[in-house]
Structures are given as structure tokens and as C-alpha cells.
Amino acid sequence: MILARHAEALLWTGRYLERAETTSRCLNYAANSITHLRGDEARAEGELMVRTLGLQEELEAVGPLESQPQLVAFLLSDTDNPGSVVSAVIAVRENLRSVRDRIPIELWEEANGLYLRFPFLGHANAPPGGLHEVLLMVRRACLAVSGILNEGMRRDEGHAFVVVGRMLERSIFTVGLLEASHSDARGVMDATRMLRLTSSLQAYHRQHGNAPDPDGVVRYLLHAPDLPRSVLSCLSRAGEGLTGLGANAPALDRARRKAALLRARLELGEVEEAMASAPVATLQDFSVQLAGLAGDVHAGIVPPLAMATVQAQYVRPGQAGEPGHAGERARPGPGGSSAAGGPGHAGERA
């Protein structure tokens, strides 16, 4: 039986691991494409990327994007931006560190190794010299971590929570990408861009030829049952993970049901039908549903079965939150209902 705190840490490990990889991939794409874009186009691409990643609020705190190095710093090395690669790497390490006793040693070592390899940790906003090397390193390390998770970790509840976290994060990103693509300021939907940002270009070419049309790509990224980053695949795997957690965690029932319901909406063509008339509104609604699912998973782990009332009887009024001694620096936990938010907003512990 897994501790609620461990379940939570592993769920967030899955989410941040996915986020580190996704943001690296997006940044790699942005860095490549911006080199041949000029002026306003480059700015529009940068802003679209920020919207795709759901980091508009975080960007507002920094100010408007003026240059490519600024975009790189914001997405790669800005520790104040919870959606940056470095923040995700730190969060993976911190979460794994807090469950160090129950994960394979190699998993911890790989995550710790990635953290240590960041040459600019502690120097926020200082972009490294070899951007591509760093991004490649991050993506390889993320793959190594995934490999250990898949091949070296017992299929216990802890493993299921990592998978659920990853699949939630991934589906939220894919839907966010489609939504942002539909509202591109340049007025066109770039089908290749959507495929590249989901590492699906090659798979699409093999199945559907090499002249992708935007509507076909949207359908593909929503429905393809055999594509690891399609929303349907993600929901299937998240549902399997939740089912694997057994009937003894009743608080997770709602999340299990919701995952099945969202999957059914895709499978029965309900989403596709709605997309035909109002694509943006449909995707927005789906995003909200996914956020609700993430919230239900979190709520299923955290409210430890009304024991809050047991604890409350011991806590005297005014006592909570008083500063303890120096060794007691409490780690900020995921922030309650904000856990339901999209990438970058979701329960940050940075």
C-alpha cells in the first residue's frame, strides 16, 4: 500500500519528466525555425510556442519576448518559470528524492545525473553555449529515465502513478498544441509543425503520405490508437494505470470513470463531430475536462480519507503555519486545486 505522499510525488515525477522532454523538444523546434524567420514572424512563432506550452502568465511576469536568446532563457534555464526545462529537471529530482527509498537506485542516479549535468544550474537566464547539446542531453536522459521506469521498476502502485502523471501531462500538452495551432496569429495551421512538436512526423508520413493536411493531422493526434502521443493513447494508458491501482482506493473512482468517459467521447466520434463546427471551443472544453481529470486524480490521493478531522483536533488555533526551527524548511506542496491546471500551472513545487 503506497503512502499518499509517495503517490503524489510519483505522479508529479511523471508529469515533470514529460514536461522536461516536451519543453526540450519544443525549444529545439523553436530554435531551429526562428533562425530562418525574421522580425514579427519570429516573435509570432515564439509567442505561439509559449501559448502551446500554456506559459502565458509566466511570460507576463518576464515581459514581452524581444529576442531569440530571451525565448531560450525563458524556456530552458529560467528557474522562476515553472515550465522551463531546468525547473522540470529540478522538480523530477526533488520528487524522486522524496521517494528515494522506494524507487530503483538507477532511477534516482539517472535523474540526479541529469540535474548535475546542467552546466548553468543556479544561473537563471544564462543560456548555455551549446543549446542543441543541452537539449539532446535532456531528451536522452529523459529517455534513459523512461527506460529504467519501464524495465527496472516493479509494476506496483508507484509505477502506475508515474504512468498516470506522464499520460495526463502528455494529453494536456497535445490538446494545448492543437488549440494554440487553431488560433495562430498568422492565420494558418502548420500541419508539419504539429507533427514535429509531437515527434509524430515520421509515423504520419508512413501511414498517410508526406503531404499532411491540417485537419487530418488534428484527427491523427486526437484519435490514432497506435501513436504514443495521441490523446486517445494517453487516455487509454492513464485509464489502465488508474485501474491497476485497484478497487481499494475508492477516492480514485471518479478519476477512473472520468478517464473512461473522455476516452469514449473520442472513440465514439463525439469530439470529431463537435470539432467540425467549433474546433477551438471543443478543444478548450476538452482541456478543461483533462484538467478536471488531473484534479480528480490529485484529490483521490490527497484527502486522506477524512483524517484531516482527526488531525484538526490536535492542532490548536493559530498554530498552523507558525515558523519552526531552521531545519524545518517545509517544502511547498502542490497547490490544492491549482493542480488541475494545464502545463506550467499545475501544482508547481518549484
Partner: protein
């Protein structure tokens, strides 16, 4: 001073000179002691480049695994890679047997005293072995522990006893740690790193293994379950990832195969302790806590603390859970009580102490105080309530002003201080840039007590990294060495 030890190889040891303290590897005329003959030979085959390569191997290994400790500066903690010196400490079988017997004896007497004090009516106090005022004025004495029964009367399940060797090479106890002694994980990781980097060093030494600690600790804790239950639910309680010993807490939980919990993972209901799991509450039988007494239960102790478990003391009193180490052990860690431990051994066990204390002057005794303060420049003054080397004044290294201030402080609060003869800690060759130089060291062996007592072979050897320094604490720049207890040689 003695002549340089003649070298044969690269010269790492060519200029090695013992520094006036007992050197464990070389005797006073510069010849190698028999226990160390083969290891010295091996090191003579190395050169500085090879030493640097091995040091890097070890450091990379520690870094990769995140084997770190935290040094707290004024503002925040900094994570540092655990420092290990390559030249190991060797303890011959017969020497270890004697030391282990002495440690068992000492811990047995201190456990008897704790049981007597908290649940036995205080016979030792009544018989005048230890003054009552000294005990009740100790910061480590815990009134809440009075009447709380402990299985097998084993109040201290995990003890770390700091021993040193004096100028004559005799072991002496410098300090007792019966609350939350740390360091065992580093002992085991040091061995693992040495085995990886320098496996060839082990070939001609029958070294006792260290990886059994998890089993030893688990069986000790199992024997502490209330009512001797068959398969008790054991947890390790940590303050969390920001604690300097978090690595060790996770290590211990993993090597025992039990859960590592924080206070917020536990809840007390109906005088029992439970873990919060995703499937509900699961009862806990034994808590190996790595949190100090004061933070265990905000209801009974510090109301503002969020590290502990509200209501834990009520569960403890109800006897539904055992907390290891028990509450209130700090009274024996009090350096004011330390001078009485030899008498406690005589009182409870009817035997002479196998390991002596360091000669200690009790500042609350006017005669001892006036003698000690008169020659404070030769002695060491220690605050009774501190550990980790904090607040210690080493007379020969102090300025006149520091000595005067210390005298005034001690006169103002004699109960707060002891003064000891300066022990020139023994030395061993240690890597200092491109050669080996003598560095001072101590040893923290670990003694486990549940249904029975076991002494873990070896312990944590801490070494002062700076030339001439006597401060070995890792929080103050000390390093460590792998400690080899040699098995008896079969003919």
C-alpha cells in the same frame, strides 16, 4: 621527530613523519606496524597521478549517487559531496573484540540507567551514584518519558559511541550519542566506493563485510514491537529532504525494506499511529525516528513544529507503538553525566569499565574547577549540551582573550561545562595533495540493542583534513575513511 620512512616506489610515503601523536600505521621509530604492512606496501606502489585518478573515481561515484551531506551556513544549507580519504583504517581482530566488548558493556550500563531513571524509580540516584540535581537539570532529561515502558528495557536501540586513541594508543570514549547518531550509511557507502575504486587493496586482507547492517537494524527494530508481534509494521521517520542526513534516512529505509515517512504521513487516532496510504490508514508498530524529542509531538513538545505527529506521546503511553530510540535518552548524552558512566558500569554490571573515559573535570565541583581553569590553556572546554564539535574550546589553540572569556563563561554557569585533558588523537596516513601525511582521527562504532546487543564491525572513521587539526566533524571540514575490521587470520 623520527627519520623519514624509507620509500621504495613513487615516494607518496617517503617524507611521512608521525606528528607526536600515536600513529596507527607507523610506530615511533618509523617502522610499519604489522597490521598495516601490506596496505603500506600497496600504497608505496602508487604515484600521485594514480591517487588523483582514484580520488576522482570515488568522488564521481558519490556525486552520481547523490551521497552528500549538508553544511549549514548562516543563511542556507549547501550540499557537499561526501569526502572519503583513500587510505583505509585497519583494526586487527583481537583489538576489535576488546573494543566491541567495551562498547557493549558501556551501552548496557547506560540502558540500565535509562530504564532505572524513567521506569525503575531511580535506584542509582537514590544510591548516590549520580546526583539527582544533575539529572533533573539536564536538557536531555524528559519528564514525559517517565513511566513509558520500553520492550526489553532497551531505551537506546542505536548508539554511536565516539572513541579516540590517546598518545599511548589506548582507546577512550570521548562522547556518547544515544539520541540520533548518524553516519552508518556513509560507513557502508565508503566500503562500496572503496571496493569499486580499489578492489585490489582488499585481496590480501580478510575484511569483515558491512552490507548486513540493514538486516541487523531490522531485526533489532522487529524485536522492539509492542507485544512482540510477529511481522511488525516498521517505518523510518525523517524530517524530510532538507535535513542534512536525509540521504541516510532513505538509505536505512531502503536497506531494511521499510517505508520512509514524514510526520505528515502519520496520524494518531484512538491512541494508535497509522500511515496515510491511498487505500486508507495502516497501523504502525515501530517508528525508527530520526527527529529529535522536541519535534516528535507538537501537542506535548514544541507547539509550532510541523515535523512530528500530533498525539504521538499518547500512543506511546498507551503502549501501541514503540519509538526508537526512546524518549529522553539525551540525559546520557549530556556531557555533565558522561563523567559518571564508569561508575554506572560498576553499579549496574559489577565490573570495571573496559574502555576508559577521557580524564574530565566537572566544573560544578569548586576544586576541580579551580584546577582546570588554572591550566585551561592546556585543556579542552566543552559545553555539555552541544554535539558536532560546536562550542568546543581547545586550550592550546586559543588566544589569551578566548581563554579569559571561556573562564568567565564557565564561572558564570559551571553546570554548562566540562573540561577535559587534551587527547592528541591518533593519526593515519591520509592523502594531502601529492603525498600521504598524518591526519588525526576518531571512530564512531554503532551498537544495536533490542532483544540482544550487537556491535556492528567497524564504524565511521572521521579524519581531520587539515594538517594539525583535531576537529574531525564533517560539519566542520572533516573527512572519513573506510574502516576495515580484519577477521581472525586462519593459519
Amino acid at each position: 621527530m623520527v627519520d623519514p620512512v624509507p620509500g621504495t616506489g613513487s615516494g607518496l610515503l617517503d617524507r611521512y613523519r608521525p606528528v607526536g601523536a600515536f600513529d596507527e600505521a607507523f610506530d615511533a621509530d618509523g617502522s610499519v606496524r604489522p597490521t598495516y604492512s601490506r596496505i603500506v606496501e600497496r600504497f608505496r606502489e602508487l604515484d600521485a597521478g594514480e591517487i588523483r585518478r582514484l580520488e576522482k573515481l570515488v568522488a564521481d561515484e558519490f556525486r552520481r549517487q547523490g551521497i552528500t551531506f549538508t553544511v549549514y551556513s548562516e543563511e542556507e544549507g549547501t550540499e557537499r559531496i561526501w569526502p572519503m580519504d583513500l587510505f583505509p583504517r585497519l583494526i586487527a581482530a583481537a583489538e576489535w573484540d576488546e573494543l566491541a566488548r567495551g562498547l557493549s558493556q558501556r551501552v548496557a550500563a547506560m540502558n540500565s540507567f535509562l530504564a532505572d531513571l524513567y521506569t525503575g524509580g531511580g535506584q542509582a540516584i537514590a544510591d548516590g551514584v549520580v546526583p539527582r540535581w544533575l539529572v533533573v537539570s539536564s536538557g536531555g532529561f524528559e519528564r514525559n518519558a517517565v513511566g513509558v515502558r520500553v520492550p526489553h528495557s532497551a531505551h537506546c536501540n542505536i548508539a554511536g559511541i565516539d572513541v579516540v586513541r590517546d598518545a599511548g594508543g589506548r582507546y577512550r570514549v570521548l562522547e556518547d550519542n544515544l539520541r540520533n547518531p548518524s553516519g552508518i550509511s556513509y560507513v557502508i557507502e565508503n566500503r562500496a566506493a572503496m571496493a569499486k575504486a580499489c578492489s585490489w587493496l582488499f585481496y590480501d586482507h580478510p575484511v569483515q563485510p558491512t552490507e548486513q547492517y540493514g538486516q541487523m537494524l531490522r531485526s533489532t527494530l522487529e524485536s522492539m514491537a509492542p507485544g512482540g508481534e510477529g511481522d511488525p509494521h516498521i517505518v523510518v521517520l525523517t524530517p524530510g529532504i532538507f535535513n542534512s542526513a536525509y540521504f541516510e534516512h532513505a538509505f536505512l529505509a531502503r536497506s531494511m525494506g521499510v517505508e520512509l515517512v514524514e510526520g505528515r504521513d502519520l496520524v494518531v487516532d484512538g491512541h494508535s499511529v497509522y500511515t496515510r496510504t491511498i487505500e486508507g490508514l495502516v497501523k504502525v508498530d515501530v517508528i525508527y525516528r530520526r527527529i529529535d524529542d522536541d519535534f516528535l509531538d507538537p501537542v506535548a513538545f514544541r507547539p509550532g513544529s510541523t515535523l512530528g505527529v500530533p498525539g504521538l506521546l499518547s500512543a506511546l503511553r498507551a503502549g501501541t507503538v514503540t519509538v526508537c530510540n526512546a524518549l529522553g535518552n539525551g540525559v546520557v548524552d549530556d556531557k555533565g553525566v558522561y563523567p559518571y558512566v564508569p561508575d554506572l558500569i560498576r553499579y549496574y554490571l559489577g565490573a570495571e569499565p573496559i574502555i576508559d573515559n577521557v580524564t574530565t573535570y566537572m566544573m560544578w565541583d569548586p576544586d576541580q574547577r579551580s584546577e582546570a581553569l588554572g591550566r585551561l590553556d592546556e585543556l579542552v572546554a566543552k559545553p555539555v549540551g552541544e554535539s558536532g564539535g560546536y562550542g568546543v574550546l581547545i586550550g592550546p589553540h586559543a588566544t589569551e582573550q578566548q581563554l579569559d572569556e571561556a573562564r568567565a563563561t564557565i564561572e558564570a554557569e559551571p553546570r554548562g561545562w566540562i573540561v577535559q585533558e587534551l587527547v592528541h588523537l591518533s593519526t593515519l596516513p591520509s592523502v594531502a595533495e601529492d603525498r600521504l601525511e598524518p591526519r588525526h582521527l576518531d571512530l564512531r562504532p554503532f551498537v544495536l540493542t533490542g532483544e540482544r546487543t550487537q556491535v556492528f564491525p567497524g564504524g565511521l572513521t572521521r579524519v581531520a583534513m587539515r594538517r594539525g587539526s583535531l576537529i574531525v566533524n564533517s560539519s566542520q571540514g572533516g573527512g572519513s575513511k573506510d574502516t576495515w575490521v580484519l577477521a581472525p587470520e586462519t593459519p
